[in-house]
Subunit: 229 residues, 2 copies
């Protein structure tokens, strides 16, 4: 039996898959049975060719003049992302950001189940947060093993993030979703996904400068855009 060629899915495609999934589920919920790439493309502001190429990675066959079967497509995307079973995760740092993530019920539709929360602050301990008890840090390794947790979410301040990450690695966590603005030093083999707010802010800012500069060129006598209306 030959191994499947493990066709490599490009990163940009992976990033688009959740958006497809959201749209496809919406269509399926409203009773539709098939969907065409042009419909998807139009709704999401993409090129139909790109959608077709992306959907090609699922291996689901579409019918010319009909489209793709919605249930198969949804299943295949979920399979590709490993979202058919929820991955068990824990969250460390029950500040505002952590609490906010604990409240995201939507995660359960996107493969993630946060089963435990931890915090350094004793005032948080025992208090349930969105239905989950907040544990002290010294229970970390035990609970991670007991509850079969594979993903760690870091929502502590920057200066505590590396120590938390080390703890996660020691406890056998396979992947870390890092919301702290630091580059974590991790042993090879540990998966890390950084949520870099500042990269995102940089893109916004830069487009804003470019925009303002352009306006100033259009009308050099206009009031400075950084000031008045």
């Amino acid at each position: 039996m030959k191994n499947a060629p493990a066709r490599e899915v490009p990163q940009p495609t992976i990033r688009r898959l959740p958006t497809y999934l959201h749209y496809l589920r919406d269509r399926a919920a409203s009773g539709q049975a098939v969907v065409s790439t042009s419909a998807i493309a139009q709704h999401l502001g993409l090129e139909a060719t790109q959608v077709r190429k992306d959907l090609g990675y699922t291996g689901v066959a579409g019918k010319p003049r009909v489209g793709y079967p919605l249930p198969l497509l949804i299943d295949a995307i979920e399979a590709l992302l490993g979202w058919q079973r929820l991955s068990r995760a824990c969250l460390v740092g029950v500040g505002h950001l952590g609490t906010s993530l604990l409240g995201y019920e939507r995660f359960s539709h996107y493969g993630l189940h946060i089963v435990a929360a931890f915090d350094r602050d004793p005032r948080q301990h025992g208090r349930p947060c969105s239905g989950r008890t907040v544990w002290p840090m010294d229970r970390f390794a035990q609970i991670v093993r007991r509850d079969d947790i594979h993903i760690g979410i870091v929502t502590v301040p920057a200066d505590a993030a590396q120590a938390v990450a080390d703890l996660m690695v020691a406890a056998g966590i396979a992947a870390i979703w890092n919301f702290a603005p630091v580059t974590l030093r991790l042993p090879p083999g540990i998966i890390v996904q950084n949520e870099d707010l500042y990269a995102s802010l940089a893109l916004l800012s830069q487009r804003l400068v470019a925009h303002v500069t352009l306006q100033a060129q259009d009308d050099p006598h206009a009031p400075h855009p950084e000031r008045g209306r």
Copy 2:
């Protein structure tokens, strides 16, 4: 006088600039005067060539055998991103996520100054949140104009996001930083930066599946990685 050729900075470069800035500021704070691309590259896990190409967009000249002058480089990156003056922003939706962002003091080093916060819930009104008063929505347009606000941050639930965005556009906001998991419909010319948590989660999940699949291939008799151990 010829217009500057407005050399287009690639998006991936823009995304890396804040990380450079963070490192350069740290070096400058510890008294260093120059920095080499190899030092930057090693510290951030990048290729030196890439760093050199990125820094090329700043227009700052480095000296062979010496490196780049830190103060000039920092200024130039800030200029490129429009971070020499803080952009004035408002935030709508003072839930946990919104409160968390209001608490990010670091934003003031990354070009952003959140000067006002708004919420639909009357229980939030008047209450100061990280030093800012929370205003009711009906004051929105007035305060945006009064305080010369150009950026709107959307931290409301998905179903309220489009209405908030419409309000922002009507009030004359130029750019929207959207944390709600929806694609906003906006008139052309409005800058929008989506913070897509689910794209990020998809990347993490997919690497986790790939990882698990690989392990299973290595040792087909091992207990299923989603379960035991």
